[in-house]
Symmetry: C3
Subunit: 134 residues, 3 copies
C-alpha cells in the first residue's frame, strides 16, 4: 500500500513525523519512504536530546554555507537565493529514500531512532514524502 | 523483475539515466537501484539547471580533493592514482542504493528529480546499475 | 524473511559482515539491511586493500572531529563524550539502510564490494542490523 505524508517546514532543521508513519504501518513487510524534493532530505536520528538536532543543523550549515560565504564563491547556481545550492549539496549527502523493516505492525526502529524531514531551505515549504509498504 | 543498466562515463560528473529507467518500469511496486561500484554513486538531484550538476561536482571535489593536495597527505591508499581514494570517500557519503515507489508504470519522482550516476574517477568507465522491481 | 545480525565493535572503523549476510540470503528478491543505531552506520565499500578502510575512518574523523577540537566548539550536545555528537553527524551522512538485489541465492554485489558496519564511537558496542528479504 502507498500514501503520501505532507510535512510543513519553516526553515532549516529537523521535523519529526515518526508518529504519523507509525500510525499508518501495519502487518509485516518493508516500509520505504521517498522524499520528492532536491533541497530537503529524510533522516533517521536520535529523538531524545533536541540539542542533537540543532547541532546537526548547524554542522551541515557550516559544511555547506550559503553562497554569500566567500568560501562558496565558486558556485554558479545562485539565482534561486544563497540557500539554494547549499540545499542541493546537503540533499545529495543526506538520504532521499529510507527502508525500514516492519514487524507485526511496528517499525523495527532502534530505541532512540526517530524519522525526520531535514529541511535545508529558509522559506516555508510543504514537503511530500511517499510511503510504500509491501 | 530485474535488469542491469550500463552507464558510460568520461570523468567526474553526473550522468542522467532517468529515461532509461522510466522506459523499463511497469505496474505498481517498489523500484530499487543498486550501483556495483565503490568509486561511483547513484544520485537523485535537480534535472533543470545544469549548473546544479557542475556545482555539485566541484563541491565534492573540494570536500575530498585528490591525494596530491597537501590537505590529503595523511591518506595511504594512493597507488591507484590521486583520484582513487577521494572516489571511495565520495562513494561512502553518496548513495549506493536508491528506492523509488512506482505507481501505474510511473516512478513517484518529484517534478525536478532526475536519476544520475555520479562518477568520481577521472578515467572513462562503464558503470553497472542493477534494477529490481517488485 | 527477517533476522538480526549482531556486530561487535571495538572503536571507530569498518567491521565487515558480508559472509554472515551471504550465508543467510536465499532465492531471488530484495535484501534490505537496517542498522538500529544513530552513532554507527552501514557501508558498502572496497573489500580488497585494508588501507581504504583506515583512510575512510581517518577522513571522517577529520571531517567531524571530536567536540574537544576547537573547530567544533559550537556544538552543544557534549555530555555523552567528545566522540558522541561527531558520531551522530557521521551517522547522518552515511547509510542507515541499504537495499541489495539478490539473484539465485547470491547478492548482486560488485567484485570489490563488501558490507560493513562503520562504528563511530570509541567504546565497544554490539550493533544490531535488521535484515529483511522478500
Amino acid at each position: 500500500m502507498q500514501t503520501t505524508f505532507h510535512i510543513h517546514t519553516t526553515g532549516p532543521g529537523l521535523y519529526e513525523f515518526t508518529s504519523e508513519v507509525a500510525a499508518w504501518v501495519q502487518g509485516t513487510g518493508l516500509l520505504t519512504l521517498f522524499i520528492q524534493h532536491t533541497s530537503a532530505s529524510l533522516l533517521i536520528q536520535e529523538n531524545a536530546d533536541p540539542e542533537v538536532r540543532t547541532d546537526l543543523t548547524e554542522y551541515f550549515h557550516r559544511l555547506a554555507p550559503p553562497t554569500t560565504d566567500p568560501t562558496m564563491s565558486y558556485l554558479t547556481h545562485t539565482y534561486e537565493g544563497p540557500d539554494d545550492m547549499p540545499a542541493h549539496i546537503k540533499a545529495s549527502m543526506l538520504p532521499v529514500s529510507l527502508s525500514i523493516p516492519v514487524v507485526n505492525g511496528t517499525m523495527a526502529l532502534g530505541t532512540w531512532q526517530g524519522i525526520y524531514v531535514f529541511e535545508h531551505r529558509n522559506a516555508a515549504h510543504t514537503r511530500k514524502v511517499v510511503a510504500h509498504l509491501a
